[in-house]
């Protein structure tokens, strides 16, 4: 039933990449070198070759660069499939990412030389602009991927996302019970926090992580005012101070969750440009290539 365990063979474990390198330095930045080589080669060729009547996609070199560029674009866009089709065959998505990043950057050179610096209001330039758009968003992606994870894990502090939410929910429950004996307007203040707190918020609030008129903040301030007032006259209402305490804790919990959301958003947002722009680019590329041959 378990012959798998019974063989005495010292089966070599499948070779795997245990090297502890990030995608930018993968394999001693192999792809950085390759991409650099390609770009330099392209530039030299562009300088050397006398393109007649003038440099653009229509010359022999232009067609070559164009073909290379087009193939690269298609290949680069395939990473979307690669990361999702987990075949059993050996592949390292890290290597792919590394190649994706650097070859993608080298497209700036190849693509631009392909245009021969001739831009206009046509599908060809559209494709070029889209490509640059994709690459720029990608560069942003690289930057946040390089900078944010450390902060993300620091802020998370071993708390998982469900735990963050649960913490807030728990505080809500406690607030709810703590507020039961309160009079109307004080209860209403607590309701502000319970009912008008949006953890995530709209895109802008997610990106900035700031929600100035968040219900909880308003409630906390309002309660704070009352407590302070009572302090002046004498001993503050025990129930109120309890609620203030809870509100402050909730505020802190919210702050953490929102910092988390902010960074997650920043890590994610660029893909909402990168990916659709890529698809658009593929479409434009198709039109670009077809049109060239249609109007041959």
């Amino acid at each position: 039933m378990s012959m798998r365990a019974r063989t005495g063979k010292a089966i070599k474990r499948a070779p795997r990449d245990t090297a502890h390198e990030g995608f930018l330095t993968h394999a001693r930045s192999r792809w950085l070198k390759i991409a650099a080589a390609i770009s330099i080669l392209a530039i030299i060729a562009y300088e050397m070759v006398d393109q007649q009547p003038r440099a653009n996609g229509g010359t022999a070199l232009g067609y070559t660069l164009g073909t290379i560029g087009a193939l690269m674009i298609v290949w680069l866009s395939l990473i979307g499939l690669r990361k999702r089709i987990i075949t059993s065959r050996p592949f390292s998505l890290k290597a792919w990412t590394s190649a994706h990043v650097y070859l993608g950057l080298s497209l700036i050179v190849i693509g631009t030389l392909h245009t021969g610096f001739q831009l206009g209001w046509n599908v060809h330039t559209l494709a070029y602009v889209l490509m640059m758009f994709v690459i720029l968003s990608g560069i942003y992606g690289i930057i946040v991927y390089a900078r944010l994870p450390e902060q993300l894990s620091a802020n998370r502090n071993e708390a998982t996302q469900p735990q963050m939410l649960e913490a807030i929910r728990a505080l809500d429950r406690q607030l709810d019970t703590a507020a039961q004996p309160l009079g109307k307007d004080e209860a209403d203040i607590v309701r502000l926090s319970l009912e008008e707190t949006d953890i995530g918020g709209n895109l802008w609030q997610r990106l900035t992580g700031r929600q100035p008129n968040c219900g909880t903040a308003r409630a906390r301030d309002a309660v704070q005012v009352r407590v302070n007032a009572q302090m002046r006259t004498g001993k503050p209402d025990q129930r109120l101070t309890q609620i203030l305490f809870l509100l402050e804790r909730k505020d802190a919990a919210l702050a953490q969750a929102r910092r988390h959301i902010r960074m997650k958003t920043q890590l994610e947002i660029w893909l909402y440009i990168h990916v659709p722009a890529t698809i658009a680019l593929l479409a434009a590329l198709t039109a670009h290539i077809l049109s060239v041959f249609l109007y041959w």
């Binding site: 229509g58 046509n122 469900p162 995530g200 988390h260 909402y272 659709p276 479409a283 041959f293």
Partner: protein, 655 residues
């Protein structure tokens, strides 16, 4: 009198928890406060929200005690009497109280349940979504689809639809325009100098344009179909020929020779061309469009050299040298006069490399005429001819023709007669001149002059001597010379004078070689050697002199001499004062250097050579010395290449 209160709570997993109490009281309170009979743990509810009191059986009075009106069956009231049989519903904040008859008579059943879920009842799984952008942003998928479809429609579907809906043939008005009579203008300009084109509205397929059209074709900008007639078919010559009629743009050479001459590409290149359906040798092969204002005319040198490199290997009988490129352009072989002749001069193409001499039959030492210090100078000054610091200017004889490219014909009358007038006698005020180019008449005129003076001498008639008078000899002696003793004597003198005119030192011999036929008749004894002046040494190229008026900082004659070296020192008219090809290379660079900017002015083929000259034009390899007057008959010229000038001429030249 009792209330049966069923309070329903929802369990997290969905089930209900029903707590039932019976209150034996006529009046119960509802609110958030712990002291209320029906406690609703809901911050929207007042501590003491309402009082519910049983009136007579089956009706209850409800009254808002918290200052907030109650919502009963949709209306907001602060107090109401309710008939429980109608199961009235009272909404308080997020709770609902439903009244009804209890099982036991007189009992009122109250069902209290939360109808609006509490905030924290949302299930965790759904909420973790807030950490991703999924809810906040439209999905990447929809964005991608939207953009892609937009682009595919505007940049592919619409143009395609336009293409398919369009008829492949040219716009009518263009064809009509093409039928206009051949233009009188330059041969290279299309027949209809102003292309009639559909300048109409912008078409969707404009997005396919890869760049601005050349100015000449700008009119076609909105009319892609004019040239791109069929999908996946590269622009055909027929499209071009619609306007550029063959007669206006003749072939470079005979079609079959072109075919044989062309270097057919092989291997990968050929495959690519075949695969991409790009036949070679089309107009568009050389004339690339969408390359900006003067794109169409920017023809790459390579397009010429492709064929002309090693042309002889493919076109064995060609007479033109192989030209791999400007750098290796062969030395100029000007077409020079081998044997001057009035009827049919013989021309010959000789490479400047062989230091050839021309035999124009004319005696013209440039040095004398270019000197600033000799008799020529005095004469020029005396005659008031244009001089530059004393010396006769080049352009006195070499006058640019109308388009400034080449020069007018040099003629005795225009360029020489000012000094070399053929006067031989003065009759009172009248100076008698001999006619130019008519030797027999000259003989006749001289003889008659002497005879008439012998028969009836008149005073004031004086023979002008062409040769300078000896010092101390007096005029009356001269006059006495004319006095004749007898007719025979007069004839003898006449003959002597004729001989003097025609023989060395005589007025003719200044510029011409003269042959003595030895005829007894004096009128036929002397014959002037024929003169032929080449008027286009390099007929296969065109050298626009007017573009080279300044050279190397010099202007005027200095500029001329800079290229035509030795013009000031040349003693013989047989000297060929043409610059060699290296002279041109000083300024005209080869193709772009590998690295760095272009330092020299263009050296491409079409700088000097044309293409669409056609048969009898400067194109092709038929070696016709075009533009020479008189245009000789073609067949003879064919052997002119090999003709050796006859001894007589040589002798003359050597002299």
């Amino acid at each position: 009198m009792s209330f049966v209160v069923r309070q329903i709570a929802k369990r997290a997993d969905g089930g209900d928890i029903i707590r039932t109490r019976t209150l034996d009281a006529a009046e119960i309170t509802i609110g958030r406060g712990t002291d209320c009979d029906i406690q609703l743990p809901d911050l929207g509810v007042m501590l003491r929200h309402a009082r519910l009191s049983q009136l007579l059986d089956g009706t209850v009075a409800i009254e808002a005690t918290g200052g907030i009106p109650l919502e009963i069956n949709g209306q907001f009231v602060s107090r109401a009497d309710l008939d429980v049989s109608g199961n009235p519903a009272i909404d308080i904040a997020s709770h609902r109280l439903t009244l009804g008859r209890g099982e036991t008579p007189g009992a009122i059943a109250i069902t209290a349940e939360r109808v609006i879920a509490a905030s924290d009842s949302a299930d965790a799984d759904a909420e973790t979504g807030i950490f991703s952008l999924k809810e906040t942003m439209p999905s990447k998928r929809s964005l991608a689809w939207g953009l892609a479809l937009l682009i595919l429609v505007t940049c592919l579907a619409l143009p395609l639809w336009l293409m398919s809906s369009r008829s492949a043939d040219l716009p009518a008005e263009m064809v009509a325009a093409a039928a206009h009579p051949p233009a009188t203008a330059s041969r290279l300009v299309p027949v209809n100098a102003t292309p009639v084109a559909d300048k109409g509205s912008m078409k969707p397929d404009i997005v396919w344009s890869s760049g601005a059209l050349s100015t000449a074709h700008a009119g076609l900008s909105n009319n892609c179909g004019a040239c791109h007639q069929a999908a996946f078919v590269s622009v055909t010559d027929s499209a071009c020929a619609a306007c550029h009629k063959p007669e206006s743009t003749p072939d470079h050479a005979a079609h079959d020779r072109m075919e044989r001459g062309r270097l057919a590409s092989t291997g990968l290149i050929a495959e690519v061309h075949k695969g991409l359906n790009l036949p070679e040798g089309r107009c568009a092969s050389c004339h690339k469009e969408h390359e900006g204002p003067n794109g169409a005319l920017m023809v790459a040198t390579s397009f010429c050299t492709d064929c002309h490199t090693g042309l002889s290997t493919r076109l064995r009988d060609t007479k033109i040298a192989n030209v791999p490129g400007w750098d290796k352009h062969p030395q100029f072989s000007p077409t020079i006069v081998a044997t001057p002749s009035l009827k049919n001069p013989l021309f010959q193409r000789v490479s400047l490399g062989t230091k050839p001499h021309e035999n124009s039959g004319l005696v013209y030492p440039h040095d004398i005429h270019q000197s600033a210090t000799n008799a020529v100078t005095n004469m020029a000054l005396k005659q008031g001819l244009p001089t530059k610091d004393g010396a006769l200017g080049c352009n006195y004889c070499h006058q640019p023709d109308s388009d400034g490219v080449r020069f007018k014909q040099i003629s005795m009358e225009d360029n020489c007669a000012a000094c070399h007038d053929l006067a031989f006698a003065s009759d009172g005020g009248v100076v008698r001149t001999l006619p130019h180019g008519k030797p027999q008449q000259v003989a006749g005129i001289v003889r008659d002059f002497y005879l008439s003076q012998a028969l009836s001498p008149r005073a004031g008639v004086q023979r002008l001597a062409f040769e300078r008078r000896q010092v101390g000899r007096m005029a009356e002696l001269e006059a006495a010379d004319l006095r004749i003793t007898s007719v025979g004597d007069a004839r003898a003198r006449g003959d002597k004078a004729i001989a003097a005119i025609f023989s060395k030192g005589g007025v003719c011999a200044d510029c011409h070689g003269i042959a003595n036929t030895g005829a007894s008749n004096m009128a036929e004894r002397y014959a002037i050697e024929p003169v032929t002046l080449a008027d286009h040494y390099l007929p296969k190229g065109s050298f626009p002199h007017n573009k080279h008026l300044t050279y190397d900082g010099k202007t005027g004659d200095a500029a001329c001499i800079a290229c035509h070296k030795g013009a000031t020192t040349s003693k013989l008219s047989s000297d060929l004062l043409l610059p060699s090809v290296s002279q041109c290379r000083d300024c005209h660079g080869a193709s772009k250097p590998l690295i760095g900017p272009v330092t020299k002015v263009s050296g491409s083929c079409n700088t000097c050579h044309g293409f669409h000259y056609g048969k009898g034009g400067q194109g092709g390899d038929n070696g016709v010395p075009v533009g020479h007057t008189p245009v000789a008959t073609i067949p003879k010229v064919a052997d002119a290449d090999r003709a050796i000038p006859d001894r007589r001429t040589l002798a003359l030249v050597d002299r």
